[in-house]
Amino acid sequence: MDHLLSIVLFTPLLGLLVLLFLPSSNKNLIRWWANLASFAGLLVSIPLITGFDRTKDFQFVETAAWIPSIGASYHLGIDGIGLVLVILTTLLGFLSILSSWTAIEDRLKEYYAFFLLQQVGMLGVFMALDFLLFFVFWETVLVPMYFIIAIWGGQRRAYAAIKFMIYTLIGSVLMLLGILALYFYHQSQFQVLSFDIADLMKTNLPAGVGWWVFWAFFLGFAVKVPMFPFHTWLPDAHTEAPTAGSVILASVLLKMGTYGFLRFSLPLLPDTSRNPQVVNIMAVLSIIGIIYGALACLMQKDWKKLVAYSSVSHLGYCTLGIFSLNPAGIAGSVIQQINHGISTGMLFLIVGIVYERRHTREIAEYGGLFKVMPVFSMVFLIAALSSMGMPPLNGFIGEFTILQGAYQMSFNWALWSAVGIALGAAYLLWLFQRTMLGEASEKNGKLLDLSPREIAVFAPLILAAFWIGLHPKPMFQVLERPVAQIVERVRPGYFAEHKLASPLTTPAASLR
């Protein structure tokens, strides 16, 4: 099919349009429709997997004129990295909507509308091959998430929502400046107006300019990831957002930042990206994030905030992998991004389950749930093990591969980031002990275990966690080529120098 990506991209939008005409009074109709629409969104994305050819670069490419006068076009396409992130988005988009069935009771129509709109934005980010189009989708995501936090959030929702908005907005404005600088330099060199990534890649930036553009991009992406020290919006936003909002925020939204580094910073600004100074700054910030996030977790009294800080730690691994600038680091980073989507998504869903029953997030309020909710406890245990990188679950594969890449750069990187592994076990097991083990208090004594719908939400994520852990080979295969493209772009001749077989040598190695 020629328009597969457009179909995947606009299915949620179609669902949204129909949703707007449904009567707000009929809550169940709205619920059913939103679930159906997002499930359809998941189904239509499956042909992307079956039709994907891992010996090619960008696939399912679509090009149409959009704003020809400034050289912006509707240009979509995905490579292996885009593919896994798109699938992650369609899966978690559906699951987060499914998980909201009983959690949300007021303003249902608006709620689901925002989720579907957000879905379009996120998918667009991972598909766009035109920088302006990318930016439009990037900003589209902001608005629904702002409202989701501000309307359906917890007690400090207004503060959290505005903080989220301001941080990300400042980041993206600076990123836009970077995009424009690149755009105008390209124009002056080629006398053509184009936002197309493949065109912009040919631009030859003066060293100083490349430096500034890199840091402009950096601010946009680093706030989103979030990297230390731009992370403080995240615990607030995560904690105040409704469960499904936190899930989407952690599982997908944060990946827009890491994706940005991979799709734009590295390929468009290879000279600056391999500058040892830059690499060192990025590594240090990543490692601080890993350890700092984990230490902050140890201190949280709020269950959800703990999970939020764990994201800071996990995303530190992802950025560290990216700036290892070698195949293991980058492939590990992408896999870890998916893993984080699975495991942290589960951890947020888990908080949501008990919050719905008890309406508190205080860890001290819980305890002894193992006896009361055995199935739930086992799900929690699996999620925690996946998150702390326990083999043979998924997290281990990602962490190990990232560490392998980091070690190739520096022993110190591997040493310090491995500290996070020990800490990860500490905060998660302590959380498990405080909430699940011990005697159940009276308030917790009669909680209901998972319902079939709730099990259905967790089941695909648990399966994915085992699948990636036990059989990660397909994942590595899909990522092999795009990762090699990035590595060759940043460090030309890498594969030859290290006497490795380059995955690029078989078919034509062009980005088009």
Binding site: M299, P391, A418, A422, Q433, L470
Partner: protein, 613 residues
């Protein structure tokens, strides 16, 4: 094709069946699944080993590529050589016996199916650990057994002390895993592979400094798993778990994984002199240190726990002295007699309805005779009395130590004397003298005593299994001749330990307290385990806690970063507030500002323009 995969997968099936459906199954069915899967696995081990014959070289089965990143390929490959064969027999053999015993021991406990599901899962991971043909698969098993240990220590999850102990075990092990992970990464960088078959033959050609670093990092991992100093602190606490767990995981099998791993990596240690020396030091230090603590414990399981730490130290001493096969030999005999000691202790605890304090026991010899006589077999075995099991393996280690450095032999002999003393002390306090408790002891059922009897037999005669000879193709025997005087000295040391204990606790019962009082501070120090837990708490745990809360979370996050962000916001608001004053709505004031502004602009143009001209 021998279908090696069946060996671990059978217990895995048991775990899945009991884990998923055990809640709804009858107790008999749970028992049948749990026992059946382990016994079948044992049978399959025997069948495989018979089928493989002499096993002069490693037999490998490759199933599929587990993962491939760059040029690193890690396969799901299992392999059997003579070292694995020994481990397989110990794990499935002793494992089966303990499973049988547990049927009786756990019969009145809640969560029966859960217990056996965890136990089967443990068997699965332990078998993966010993069968894995590369470091990563070994690590999978390594982490998996750690998880099961966590779950089983905290099996009585209503008790905070139990869940604390489980957590502590896991986290301390993770510190060791940190070393193991870094070692694996260094192996990948150095050798380009994690396969045993590719790494070890190439070790001789690599620089010694790299190999030393690998060896030390692996040793850190082994110290975590095998409870060696400074990471031994989790094992005594782990006794919170049900007693069959202490026997299986925390005595016979899992804690020996570090010994197995070091022996497996002998090719690396043989070319990393400093690292191997370190193995010996850590082993010897732990052996003597833990033995002194064992002298003054009152909880019967704690005595045996410190004994395990100490005996594991012995094994490391053997490895470090270059006698890898002696270390493994002691691993085997220790599995027999220490499993027996724990199961016997369990039988005592079972008889006394949960009493674990030696001071409240006494006179049990005639009340639970089967338990006593089987335990007595373990007693003579661990005390190193010829010709019982412990004698042979301990002697092999001590002789190697003497060959390596004579002073190590003498410290080892001292440890042997202490070992004989504390085990005898426990035996005398529990089984001799007058009953000191208010219990009505009853002998355990045959399902528990039968495994005791089998293990008793193995403790008595297990020393005649010539493990070092069997392992000769892997670990050439050291040339140290059998020096009769050295053997005699260590035997005398063991007898002296027993004699001293008899004097203290049977002949003159008041003497022990008198000595304790006379030693004063030293006794308090040992009684409180040298305050190591308190030291770690004060030096590591609390600084991390307070530091993260006060400095990082409240200080940096809320204070510095958000402070800065809020500061920018306040400046913006203040500026806005000032500028708002200009917007007074008063035409005259606007006119004033316009004039003022125009003058400013003119002046500015004048200045800049003047400069340009």
């Amino acid at each position: 094709m021998q279908h090696l995969w069946l060996i671990p997968v059978l217990p895995l099936l048991g775990f899945l069946l009991n884990g998923l459906f055990g809640r709804r199954l009858a107790k008999g069915a749970v028992t049948a699944i749990a026992l059946g899967s382990v016994l079948l696995s044992f049978a399959w081990v025997v069948k495989t080993l018979v089928g493989l014959g002499a096993l002069e070289t490693a037999y490998i089965e490759r199933y599929f590529t587990w993962f491939q990143s760059g040029d690193l390929r890690v396969g799901a490959d299992l392999s059997v050589d003579r070292l694995t064969a020994v481990m397989l027999l110990v794990v499935t053999g002793v494992g089966s016996l303990i499973h049988i015993y547990a049927v009786g021991y756990m019969t009145h406990e809640g969560g029966y199916y859960r217990f056996f599901a965890y136990l089967n899962l443990f068997m699965f991971f332990m078998l993966v650990l010993v069968l894995g043909a590369n470091f990563l698969l070994l690590f999978v098993g390594w982490e998996g057994v750690g998880l099961c240990s966590y779950l089983l220590i905290g099996f009585y999850f209503l008790k905070k002390s139990a869940t604390d102990a489980g957590k502590k075990a896991f986290i301390v092990n993770r510190i060791g895993d940190f070393g193991f992970s870094l070692a694996m990464l260094l192996i990948v960088i150095t050798f380009g592979s994690l396969d045993f078959g590719a790494v070890f033959p190439a070790a001789a050609s690599k620089p010694e400094s790299t190999l030393t670093l690998i060896g030390l990092l692996l040793l850190l991992g082994a110290c975590g798993k095998s409870a060696q100093a400074p990471l031994y602190v989790w094992l005594p606490d782990a006794m919170e778990g049900p007693t069959p767990v202490s026997a299986l995981i925390h005595a016979a099998t899992m804690v020996t994984a570090g010994v197995y791993m070091v022996a497996r990596s002998s090719a690396i240690y043989l070319h990393a002199h400093a690292a191997q020396e370190m193995v010996a030091y850590i082993g010897l230090g732990t052996a003597v240190f833990a033995a002194t603590i064992g002298l003054a414990q009152n909880d019967i399981k704690k005595v045996f726990a410190y004994s395990t730490v100490s005996q594991l130290g012995y094994m490391f001493l053997g490895l470090g002295a270059g006698a890898f096969s002696a270390g493994i030999f002691h691993l085997v005999t220790h599995a027999f007699f220490k499993a027996l000691l724990f199961l016997g202790a369990g039988s005592v605890i079972h008889a006394l309805e949960g009493e674990q304090d030696l001071r409240h026991m006494g006179g049990l010899r005639t009340r639970i005779p089967v338990t006593f006589w089987t335990l007595a077999c373990a007693w003579v075995a661990i005390a190193g009395i010829p010709p019982f099991a412990g004698f042979h393996s301990k002697d092999a280690i001590l002789l190697a130590a003497h060959h390596h450095a004579p002073w190590m032999y003498w410290v080892g002999v001292l440890t042997a004397a202490m070992t004989a003393f504390y085990v005898s002390r426990a035996m005398f306090l529990a089984f001799f003298g007058e009953p000191r408790g208010h219990h009505h002891p009853h002998e355990s059922p045959p399902v528990m005593t039968a495994p005791l009897a089998v293990l008793a037999l193995l403790s008595l005669a297990g020393g005649f299994l010539d493990v070092p000879k069997f392992l000769e193709p892997l670990f050439p025997l050291s040339e140290g001749a059998h020096d009769f005087a050295l053997v005699a000295i260590s035997v005398v040391a063991g007898l002296a330990g027993i004699g001293l204990a008899a004097l203290f606790y049977v002949v003159k019962p008041g003497l022990a307290d008198a000595v304790a009082n006379a030693l004063g501070g030293l006794y308090t120090l040992v009684y409180n385990k040298y305050f190591v837990d308190e030291l770690y708490d004060a030096a590591v745990v609390r600084p991390v806690e307070t530091g993260s809360r006060e400095a990082l979370w409240k200080g940096v996050d809320a204070g510095l970063i958000d402070g800065a962000a809020n500061g920018v916001a306040s400046i913006a608001r203040a500026t806005g507030g000032l500028l708002r004053l200009i917007q007074s709505g008063n035409i005259r004031s606007y006119a004033t500002w316009v004039v003022f502004g125009s003058i400013l602009v003119l002046v500015a143009i004048g200045l800049v323009g003047g400069g340009a001209r």
